[in-house]
């Protein structure tokens, strides 16, 4: 069903022609009570030319949408382009309500588009324009034979691609613009049903007992649709759930894991403070033991999922005067609603908008002593080993971003024309495609192989830092190339290329800045030559 207000990409900001509402002579929507198709049709802007996109509804009337929209998608192959049909003539079912002969593809798109449009009215189900529009946006095929994935991992990727492209990709732009993921809770429950929230958790708590490579694949596919939601997913499934799995005792796992894995609860992890980012060991959040409780005072900053989380793993200093300072850190499990715990303003970030980040405030927050995660004052081991795996799993984010850039840039290059041919045939553009693709594939092999090694029990801080160092920097570069490929169109927010760049930049900063990652690798070499 067409929205009453045009989606942002239908009415680009560049156009100064103001008249909202229908142009005289344009068809009216056959479904929405004959209301006007509301978008701004400028005569000024040469970018706007109309191409028909047929409604899957029974009447088969053409709905005209601006060329800008059509440019982003390969031209919709009509029913007559599916092999074997009578060429040229409109198939019988297209013009008349003869359901039987309606093109299978249009129906298929309706099946797929159904999720995007929502249950809606009976009439709405038949006018699944959105489903048809998204049909061209499935993205490029990923060669999983080169990537060395097993049969099950390929199926996992297929399921996640399908799910994310249907349920998440259509909302990604809106999530970014509003800096909010409305419907996050429902989406989390759907992820829980798919079984992807507790990938590394044992089966008895509802997890899937699989490995880090599977986790990276899911992270990649979610990030391909929306990197912000991918980041929230990574924070929940790896930073929170995986830490509980690796360090929690039976009671803690039984209490917290099931709801986190089913998606009913959202998890987060808090180590950074306003004055302690890279120098995380200098954190000031204090935890004083008072009988059966620890009382926490201080604050945390930059906490992903902070505003929404029900369960948070918080690092605090139980011994402020420990020497070295790392010896005084303890990890705690904090629940939303514990007295003295509150969250402050949601941060207004450059990218990853929709992945809510905020400040946590602890004012005499009472945390039961049984919520100590791991051993008292040995929290730094929990922290550091967790960071290695965090870097590995979050490397899926840049991979997904790079894939998304390719998904959008490569088709565009084969639709946009200049100097009489598709610009994708020019050598400099071919070079760009080659650079983007090889960066993505090189990063993929590195990440997947390190993940496979971790699955075999071979953990290596040097490579865990290396994978995210390299893929994050490649992702920023690929996103820049992607914007360049789209030229002026890449510079406006109708197209997602800007969002990809803004989202990619975060991965050079979060989970240890690129500088810290380089230190880790350098020091690892130093240590072998002591």
């Amino acid at each position: 069903m067409l929205a009453a207000r045009p989606p942002p990409w239908l009415a680009p900001a560049c156009c100064s022609s103001p008249s909202a509402g229908a142009l005289p002579g344009l068809p009216r929507c056959p479904r929405a009570g004959g209301g006007p198709l509301s978008f701004r049709p400028p005569v000024c802007c040469s970018r706007w030319r109309f191409g028909p996109i047929k409604c899957a509804g029974g009447r088969g009337q053409a709905l005209f949408l601006p060329r800008a929209a059509a440019l982003r998608l390969p031209p919709l192959p009509g029913p007559h382009q599916r092999g074997g049909r009578r060429g040229g003539a409109l198939p019988r079912g297209w013009a008349a309500p003869a359901r039987r002969c309606r093109s299978g593809v249009a129906m298929a798109a309706a099946v797929i588009g159904r999720a995007a449009v929502g249950a809606g009215l009976r009439g709405a189900r038949r006018c699944q324009t959105l489903g048809l529009l998204r049909r061209g946006c499935a993205g490029l095929a990923v060669d999983d034979t080169v990537n060395g994935l097993s049969e099950e991992q390929r199926q996992l990727r297929q399921t996640m691609t399908k799910f994310c492209q249907e349920h998440l990709a259509p909302k990604a732009q809106q999530i970014d613009q509003e800096n909010e993921f409305k419907g996050m809770r429902e989406f989390w429950k759907k992820l829980g049903e798919l079984g992807v929230l507790g990938i590394t958790a044992p089966v008895e708590y509802g997890g899937s007992a699989l490995g880090y490579l599977d986790h990276v694949l899911v992270m990649e596919e979610i990030s391909r649709a929306s990197a912000a939601v991918g980041l929230s997913y990574g924070a929940h499934s790896n930073l929170c759930i995986n830490q509980l799995v690796r360090n929690g005792n039976e009671a803690q796992k039984n209490k917290y894991l099931p709801k986190l894995i089913s998606g009913e609860h959202i998890g987060a992890l808090a180590m950074s403070e306003p004055n302690a980012g890279s120098d995380v060991v200098s954190m000031k959040l204090k935890a004083d033991k008072k009988g059966d409780y620890f009382v926490l005072n201080g604050n945390k900053f930059w906490i992903t999922n902070g505003p929404d989380a029900d369960v948070l793993i918080v690092y605090a200093k139980t011994d402020i005067n420990a020497v070295p300072p790392s010896r005084g850190i303890t990890a705690f499990i904090v629940e939303r609603g514990m007295p003295g715990f509150s969250t402050a303003q949601k941060l207004d970030k450059l990218g990853m908008r929709g992945s809510d980040t905020c400040e946590l405030i602890f004012e005499d927050c009472k945390v039961p002593a049984e919520n100590v995660l791991g051993t008292l004052s040995k929290g730094v081991y929990v922290l550091m080993s967790g960071l290695d795996l965090e870097r590995l799993v979050l490397s899926g984010g840049p991979l997904g971003l790079m894939q998304a850039v390719l998904d959008h840039a490569v088709p565009y290059l084969h639709v946009r024309e200049a100097f009489g041919q598709k610009i994708g045939h020019f050598q400099l553009m071919q070079g760009k495609m080659a650079d983007m693709y090889t960066r993505l594939m090189a990063c993929r092999q590195y990440v997947y192989n390190v993940a496979k090694a971790c699955d075999r029990g071979h953990f290596n801080a040097k490579d865990c830092a290396g994978v995210i160092l390299y893929s994050a920097e490649c992702a920023t570069q690929v996103a820049l190339d992607g914007i360049q490929c789209l030229g002026g169109n890449g510079y406006i927010n109708d197209y997602p290329m800007g969002r990809f760049l803004r989202d990619a930049k975060l991965y050079e900063i979060g989970a240890g800045t690129s500088e810290v990652r380089r230190l880790i690798i350098g020091r690892a070499f130093n240590a072998t030559f002591k």
Partner: protein, 254 residues
């Protein structure tokens, strides 16, 4: 209610989202290196069968496919969605089996497995033939309920609501019967990760048509030529209805 055995036919087709191109030579479309997946209508049929089993109306769901070895990945997806076992009726390389060949192979399989209900998708999105279900029912001499938008099982019979041109028609068919699924029958589920892992252990048999006693029949249709339709030409605006009518008359449309 007796626990039934349901056979679901699934077809491996080019993914709905792929932009199809005519293959060099014009004899078909490019399939090399192109993403394939389970036909969406077969997914709906499979979902219905799995729901029947979950409701207790069916005991076993068997997914079957007629095609080359590559169809095994499609059957694995079907197992991940919820089928209990998979059967691949393997055909050699060469032109892909059409509806008639597929129906003949499935009829042979029905003779071997003896299901009480056969569920197929109403059509495949690559050829849009909408024939396999009907041909199969005729070959088996079983009742058929095509374009099903609702299926209810009663003792020894199926009550099927069909979407037809004039509206909705409800039929009561004695089992065994062949049903083909239409779009609004249900919303198929995703293959969840736990189910993908469980599917690894489910049996997937490969048999050839000759094992079933199905005589080899060469395809009776040959695609002579396949080409893309001419690109869309720009339209022209006319001033008023009179001019439009004149234009239509001049071009011989009316």
């Amino acid at each position: 209610m007796a626990a039934l055995r349901v056979l679901v036919g699934v077809k491996r087709v080019i993914d709905y989202a792929v932009k199809v191109r005519v293959a060099a030579g014009g004899g078909g479309v490019q399939t090399q290196g192109v993403k394939h997946s389970l036909n969406p209508f077969c997914e709906i049929a499979l979902e219905e069968a799995v729901r029947l089993r979950e409701r207790g109306a069916a005991a076993e769901v068997i997914a079957a496919s007629v095609g080359t070895r590559a169809c095994q990945e499609t059957l694995r997806t079907a197992l991940a969605v919820g089928a209990d076992r998979g059967v691949l009726l393997e055909v050699g390389e060469g032109p892909a089996p059409g509806p008639r060949e597929a129906a003949a192979a499935l009829a042979g399989l029905v003779g071997r497995l003896r299901p009480d209900l056969v569920l197929l998708g109403k059509q495949a999105i690559d050829d849009d033939c909408n024939q396999t279900g009907q041909l199969l029912a005729a070959m088996l001499d079983w009742p058929q309920g095509t374009f099903a938008s609702r299926v209810e099982l009663e003792a020894g019979a199926a009550r099927v609501q069909r979407e037809v041109d004039g509206g909705l028609e409800t039929l009561r068919l004695r089992l065994p019967a062949v049903l083909t699924a239409d779009l609004r029958l249900n919303e198929p589920r995703y293959a969840t990760l736990p189910n993908i892992m469980k599917a690894k252990k489910k049996p997937l048999e490969v048999m050839s048509a000759s094992e079933l006693g199905v005589p080899p029949s060469p395809p009776r249709l040959r695609v002579l030529k396949l080409e893309e339709p001419p690109g869309r030409q720009g339209g022209q605006r006319v001033e008023n209805v009179a001019a439009l009518l004149e234009r239509l008359r001049n071009s011989g449309c009316i």
